[in-house]
Symmetry: C3
Subunit: 275 residues, 3 copies
């Protein structure tokens, strides 16, 4: 038995917005036999970097063939490509504005196609009016099409040159040292980083966490933990989470409330060999 791919929708529309309902209707209507899930509609408005980070965080944990329909699109209606990107076997449908650049950098680009709007007409709920809701009119129909097995080449033209690349803070990896900037805070106030096991392996020879310790702005977080149950109550701790990435938790409270940064990007974590 193999798990079935799904269509996973990620937007900055907000769950309390009817746009989230409409884009889901557009997908379900065109691909009624494919499970469709709302991955998140809570990306902060126009925060392409957080959308990029979350896609990259979760995509390895979805079944092969999953289609990620991602719309964080401040430039909607402007003059840019609308894409179907194949990165390592998962498909990403959305605007060419950097939203897929972390996924592509890590998993590798198999192909990118620019969606031809004439070819997705059969997958549209209704003829579109206006150019302000490409999620409904272009991306949802394209995502439904490829989820149903239509080849990206059948709804678009190969267009993999010069994809827009997002400027995100690099993870700094040196011998016995890793540094990275916070990328996302979850609903429990946990703080997520793009630092993953491979970074630690590269810096420390293995991801054996017991020999390394973390600090934020000079505050020692102790050794890097593997389980919540290892983290003491009432104090922040660094943890390799279930996405294989580094996270700051605060058992019994909220790490975000503890550090209360002006902006998420002000939080930098450093990992060193234990002295």
């Amino acid at each position: 038995m193999q798990n079935k791919p799904v269509i996973a929708i990620l937007t900055d529309f907000g769950f309390d917005s009817f746009y989230a309902g409409v884009i889901k209707a557009a997908v379900c209507s065109a691909a009624p036999e494919v499970p469709v899930v709302d991955l998140s509609h809570s990306i902060p408005p126009h925060a392409i970097d957080q959308g990029s980070f979350l896609l990259d965080t979760v995509c390895d944990f979805f079944p092969a063939g999953t289609v990620f329909l991602a719309v964080v699109d401040p430039g909607v209606g402007g003059n840019r490509r609308n894409l179907v990107v194949d990165a390592g076997g998962a498909l990403f449908v959305g605007p060419d504005n950097g939203l897929f650049s972390e996924v592509v950098a890590r998993r590798g680009l198999v192909s990118a196609h620019e969606i031809d709007e004439q070819k997705i007409v059969p997958f549209r709920m209704a003829p579109p009016v206006g150019r302000t809701f490409l999620g409904r009119d272009v991306f949802a129909p394209a995502a439904a099409a490829v989820a149903r097995g239509v080849s990206p080449g059948d709804i678009g033209v190969e267009s993999s040159a010069d994809l827009i690349t997002l400027q995100v803070p690099d993870v700094d990896v040196q011998p016995c040292f890793v540094r990275g900037v916070a990328r996302h805070a979850d609903s429990f106030g946990n703080i997520l980083f793009a630092i993953h096991g491979a970074h630690l392996d590269r810096a420390f020879g293995s991801s054996e966490s017991s020999g390394i310790s973390a600090s934020v702005s000079g505050r020692d977080l102790g050794s890097v933990k593997r389980y919540y149950a290892e983290c003491p109550q009432g104090t922040p701790a660094a943890l390799m989470n279930s996405w294989g990435r580094l996270e700051i938790v605060f058992p019994g409270g909220s790490a975000m409330a503890f550090f209360s940064p002006d902006e998420l990007s002000k939080i930098t974590i450093e990992i060193r060999s234990k002295k």
Copy 2:
């Protein structure tokens, strides 16, 4: 290929309410082969006028045969009809309290049936207790039934006379002049109006937007735009949106924050021929 109709649920329950989950379960359980989507659960509590506006805004963009299950129902359990309304080929299931009056006025009434609770018993999850959750016990089963192809006449009695009509602010259309009142603010702070292309055609002879300009409370918004990309950053602009309707946007910010009205209904837009 034709897109498949869906069941789209619109309520004022709030997404953070388990009632939203239960009404969806009731529908999915009785019509497991029909895609079911949450159109919105974020209508302000008891705001029939906003529910009516959103249904009218979106319904043309759903596939023929779509069933809208709509529960904004301050008078639940009182003495009023529970309806299945056919308005121009889309079906609307919910209370007779005006929620469907804008849809009916614009698309025309094909038929209205009062739901007979005895006839929806086979579509219920469980025998009901109490009379406070007709969404679960009456409307969801009826919506599932008609979505599965049961004729409204088979679960109810023709009852199209004297449907409750909601008092909503009219769109004022005169030669070379259109005026309307704000009806909904979306999650980006955009302000939506019931003014659509046909109103502009009637006033100005065509919906050619370049020759007309908009103002709110005397503030000139310039010509009516067609694309976000045409709207300058940091200032409000009027736009014909992807629902074929007028909207005030504020690129780089929120139109609601800019105008910060005490109530949405205090915002009136006027469209005139350009001088």
Copy 3:
């Protein structure tokens, strides 16, 4: 015709969290032919008691065979059992931390199995990393398996002894007297209690509500009502709701705003025979 069981997901992840999307994807992917609904993701973080209350409130109203996937799990990754519990024909999948104790107490325990992680591997989206998201890696695959008809005994070991029991405030039932503590406030500000019809029958000989009256902290709420329409505007009233349970409503406002308790548990309702 019989309604089809669903998989209903209840968590404290928050709807604005991508964890809610991922757990749903994990279920849909492994059981694509079963309807999956989000019952609620808005349990206050780590509030096992509210999760327990809501499961017990709703479960009788779902079709036989429904699977409740419930993750309110402050001790995730610690040393405790992961369960599939059969309580009166409905299945409950989640941690052994008391989340199912009210359901089990009222409906009776048919069986409980401790999930064997080796046996759910075929139902997983991907090999897991870390031990912080058992919702995705253990509970979702197990829920999908049993929803598809796999016997709990085929994915786990009988383990019904010494299930963790939650300490919840008892409903005090005496001749002509019932007292209980508030358990949940809904999105309309209604206040819900675990007091149900059987409690009133036991105290008053029948659940005939006209002869009994309610009070909160000495404030008389009048007779127990059956319909919202019976409740006067602008004052709190007690109502037997559509879950067969007692609820305080405030027509035209919010009961929670009216009583504005420091904590929900400070609200105690007493029911007596009318004088």
